[in-house]
């Protein structure tokens, strides 16, 4: 087989994106036609990426071939296992989001549709282009395209002041990040990012140690801003809820991992992970992000905001896993590094599946009821039974319950922590157990947050009057696709680990994690630890079935529907007597008060209590920065008098200074 075929296929799909965008501009197209053709093209593109990614993981032998187009500037592309893995992630989420969008946008007119359908294929193409890019120029162009198209998508449906604020903040942080990346690439390419050295050539060059450190810092800031890493996360909880749900799903489940891709590509492949310190930095920042995200997600009232903070938490956990892998590399234990790296990448894949599913589901809820405010929802299990079932699968997966996929990757991460004491270094031995304890706490709180989201939205009585309808066939199809992925990867985790081993081989120069059977995980040896989700499922299913049959056979009597007993309470039972979102997490609010300074505030309009939260990073970091910038600008204003003579003097002085400096 032609080794370039997967790459060509993926690039062909990338080229379809701009075509689809242009196609949406055609006049006199029926809205339904427009919707079907454009979104089916997006689906096709995503499926092609999925296929080429899978082929790239299985077939492409190292070193992957490179494809160059154009002269100056030179576009260079390559599909190696690392790109292929993230291309699979993008393909999965892209397929589901495009399918879901067919149903989700069904009531939009032509103008409304165009607002979505022009940037959407561009966004998808930019993300794929970024993954295939093989030199600094291509990478940066794709990066910028991704930021711009997604900020248009945030404003596609709502133009409220909050949404515009969110989009502005997003664009601002994205560009600060892009500036950092530009600087990093300039350092990497010795001042000329247009020179056209591909990434493997960059990897062979030796940088001065100081420069390498600067690049590591700049890329961490640049990619961290996109990743939602604390303290650069401020845009994330604003932008995700503002966007239409298929876009939120794409942003959260595909775009955030792409920032991880960049981090792995530059800080791992080009600058090999040496020394302990950066591993520790990743570990610490990851834990900070995860802890912060999970704490805030438990306190949210808006379903999509809760999910956005939960994405932050997941990204933090992945960063912890990658940091751990870096530490293991530095300590010279490649097997453990492979384990931690696989855990991180597997979690990335799982996060794409279940977070995509949950964001799509929240979109269906919004479409059906007109709100994602958990204080207004409730009882959807009776109105939207199939959506609820699919969402339940997603929630159980993200809560880390066996035998679904979320548990499998968390299990691997914890195993990596438990195998750590083989390492020699002394200082790490105090840090690692504390980190492990922190990770466990984060995982437990994450299941609190997600059960809150599911329980308040889908169970109990409706908290307000609405007419809910079941999601359309397209939406359910998209969600079922992702839910099946969650179940499949949960039952045969070895399949995913096997696919990831190609990435391990690339990043760790040889895969030292033993070959995994598809249905069981045994990281080191069966005596140390093993996990067989299939037996698990069969065991539980058999136990449940036997119990049911036995109980039915021995004591089966028809069930009777009766009014709820409710401890004998005879008064009028209203939906307001259930937990409100603030009530559900009130105790957590109280326990973690010293950290987030949240308070319960009465809302006079709706006569209920709401949680008042301010982001400590916003108050402590961003507002002082803002004040500093304003003060500096005021000082700069002094130079501006509006007198032409003094401006000429400035120009003259500048000229003199330049002449002296440049000569």
């Amino acid at each position: 087989m032609n080794a370039l075929l997967p790459l060509q296929m993926a690039l062909g799909a990338v080229a379809l994106g701009p075509l689809a965008s242009l196609g949406s501009l055609l006049p006199r197209l029926q809205p339904s036609w427009l919707r079907y053709t454009s979104l089916m093209t997006s689906t096709l593109m995503s499926l092609l990426w999925l296929l080429s990614g899978a082929l790239g993981l299985i077939l492409v032998a190292a070193p992957a071939p490179n494809l160059a187009v154009g002269g100056i500037p030179l576009w260079q592309f390559r599909l190696d296992p690392l790109s292929a893995f993230f291309l699979v992630v993008l393909g999965l989420v892209g397929t589901a989001s495009s399918l879901h969008a067919v149903g989700y946008f069904r009531q939009l007119g032509r103008t409304g549709l165009r607002r979505v359908l022009i940037p959407l294929p561009l966004f998808l193409s930019a993300m794929a282009l970024l993954l295939l890019a093989d030199n600094a120029y291509t990478f940066l162009v794709a990066w910028e395209g991704m930021a711009l198209s997604s900020s248009y998508l945030i404003l596609a449906q709502t133009q409220t002041i909050q949404a515009r604020h969110a989009a502005y903040l997003y664009l601002l942080v994205a560009h600060l990040g892009a500036l950092c990346l530009l600087a990093a690439f300039a350092l990497l390419c010795h001042g000329n990012p247009l020179a056209g050295n591909d990434f493997s050539a960059l990897a062979h060059e030796v940088l001065a140690p100081g420069l390498a450190q600067a690049v590591l810092l700049l890329t961490l800031l640049g990619f961290g801003a996109k990743l939602g890493m604390a303290p650069l996360h401020v845009w994330l909880p604003e932008a995700h809820p503002a966007a239409p749900s298929p876009v939120s799903a794409l942003m959260s489940a595909a775009m955030l991992p792409i920032a991880l891709y960049g981090l792995l590509r530059i800080d791992w492949q080009i600058l090999p992970p040496e020394g302990v310190s950066w591993g520790l930095v990743w570990l610490a920042l990851g834990l900070l992000t995860a802890g912060f995200g999970v704490l805030f997600s438990t306190l949210q009232r808006d379903l999509k905001r809760l999910l956005a903070y939960s994405s932050m938490e997941n990204m933090g956990l992945i960063l912890v896993a990658l940091g751990l892998a870096r530490l293991f590399v530095a300590e010279g234990s490649p097997t453990l590094a492979a384990l931690a790296l696989s855990a991180g990448l597997f979690q990335t894949l799982n996060h794409a599946l279940f977070k995509g599913l949950l964001f799509l589901g929240s979109g269906s809820v919004f479409h059906s009821t007109g709100t994602v405010d958990m204080g207004r929802l409730g009882g959807l299990i009776r109105r939207m039974p199939q959506t609820t079932l699919l969402m339940l699968i997603g929630c159980l997966a993200i809560a880390g319950l066996p035998p679904l996929n979320g548990f499998a990757s968390e299990w691997m991460l914890l195993q990596a922590f438990l195998l750590a004491p083989q390492m020699a270094s002394g200082t790490l031995q105090a840090i690692l157990p504390l980190t492990a304890a922190g990770v466990v706490l984060v995982l437990a709180l994450a299941s609190f947050a997600i059960i809150k989201a599911f329980g308040l939205s889908f169970l109990g009585q409706p908290r307000s009057v609405y007419t809910a309808h079941e999601a359309s066939l397209w939406e359910r199809l998209a969600m079922a696709f992702l839910a099946l992925g969650c179940i499949f990867l949960g039952l045969v985790p070895g399949f995913a680990i096997h696919a990831i081993s190609a990435v391990n081989a690339l990043l760790l120069s040889g895969n030292s994690l033993g070959i995994q059977q598809p249905w069981r995980l045994t990281p080191i040896s069966p005596e140390r630890a093993s996990y067989v989700p299939g037996w698990f499922l069969i065991g539980i299913a058999m136990a449940i079935l036997l119990t049911f049959l036995l109980v039915w056979w021995r004591f089966g009597r028809p069930l009777r529907r009766v009014p709820v007993w409710s401890c004998g309470f005879r008064g009028a039972r209203t939906a307001r007597m259930q937990d409100s979102p603030a009530g559900f997490s009130q105790s957590l609010l109280r326990i973690f008060q010293p950290i987030h300074h949240g308070r319960l505030q009465p809302d006079t309009a709706s006569k209920e209590l709401r949680v008042e939260l301010t982001d400590p990073f916003w108050v402590g970091l961003y507002e002082p920065l803002q004040r500093l910038a304003l003060a500096l600008s005021r000082q700069a204003l002094r130079l501006q008098h509006g007198k032409i003579s003094s401006y000429l003097l400035y120009a003259f002085l500048t000229l003199v200074v330049l002449l002296v400096l440049v000569r």
């Binding site: 066996p402 299990w411 706490l441 329980g455 630890a529 539980i540 136990a543 069930l559 009014p563 709820v564």
Partner: protein, 308 residues
């Protein structure tokens, strides 16, 4: 062998609960109801008619079976009588914690499904308490598995039988953390009161309020089974002598005898704790669970500081 262990666990769970009740009654100067009361209660509940609240969904009906099924599954994974059972490689301690979390989350979801104020009260309290207790439980397990160099329960028990675990100082912290978690997770007295109804401080019982008949019987039996599982895990980690490491009839017989004796001794400790302590205020409960977590973390640190 696997089936035998499950059947034994199922059979003695109500007995153990009744023995505990009996000791509590004796300590509180009440007349005990007898050792067979557990079985009598279950029989009575199973024969009663089961009601469903008017607007509950399939989750409500389905959950008792899930709960019971997962706990039965959990009892296959714990070395109650013997190590290296056929299903043992399917899951390690982390997966066991996950399995118990499945049961808990379905219970919480079922409670929220009815939409009654008491049930949702119980639901969010349960989630709160377990969100703090689960890390403590895991860190206690981490200590044991770090010492044994494995997260497989069978390997840990074999290590413990050679006396390699119990002499280590970090195991003391692990034991303390585990004991506190046992009280929290099984809704024993300083945290929750298993004997109460109509009290604003209850957690576990509040979630069962709407259940009746055979569903309630399954839930009660499941709760007894969970207590037994926790106690046997504790035994396996900290007092593993007598657990059979081969499938010979004499070894099994000895193991069963040892188990009965250990359970016989374990109950008075629990009964004493429950009699001597008062039920804590709800806002004190997180502190209790956090203490357990702290013990776990200190244990982990001790392990690393002292070297393995």
């Amino acid at each position: 062998m696997q089936t035998l262990q499950v059947l034994v666990a199922l059979a003695i769970a109500p007995l153990f609960a009744a023995w505990l009740q009996m000791l509590r009654a004796l300590l509180q100067n009440r007349r005990p109801a007898g050792l067979l009361q557990g079985y009598r209660d279950l029989r009575r509940l199973f024969h009663k008619e089961a009601f469903l609240p008017e607007d509950s969904s399939w989750l409500f009906r389905f959950s008792p079976y899930v709960l019971f099924g997962t706990k039965v599954m959990a009892s296959t994974l714990v070395p109650i009588l013997a190590v290296d059972l056929p299903l043992a490689p399917a899951a390690d301690v982390i997966a066991l914690v996950g399995l118990l979390a499945v049961a808990r989350i379905f219970q919480v979801l079922a409670a929220m499904d009815t939409g009654t104020p008491f049930a949702s009260l119980g639901a969010h309290r349960e989630m709160l308490v377990s969100a703090l207790a689960e890390p403590a439980l895991l860190s206690a397990f981490f200590i044991a598995s770090l010492l044994a160099g494995s997260t497989s329960l069978s390997t840990i028990v074999l290590h413990a039988q050679e006396g390699l675990l119990s002499l280590h100082p970090s195991m003391v912290f692990a034991a303390a953390a585990f004991f506190l978690v046992l009280l929290v997770e099984n809704s024993r007295i300083p945290v929750d009161n298993p004997a109460t109804h109509l009290e604003l401080t209850m957690i576990h019982e509040a979630m069962l309020l709407e259940y009746s008949g055979r569903h309630l019987a399954l839930l009660e039996w499941g709760a007894q089974l969970k207590l037994l599982i926790y106690v046997t895990i504790g035994i396996a980690l900290f007092f593993p002598w007598g657990i059979a490491d081969e499938f010979a009839p004499t070894a099994i017989l000895l193991a069963s005898l040892a188990l009965l004796i250990k359970l016989f001794v374990a109950a008075p400790i629990l009964a004493l704790v429950e009699t001597l302590l008062a039920k804590k205020r709800l806002f004190r409960v997180p502190e209790f669970a956090t203490t357990a977590f702290l013990f776990g973390v200190i244990g982990l640190l001790t392990h690393f500081m002292l070297g393995s």
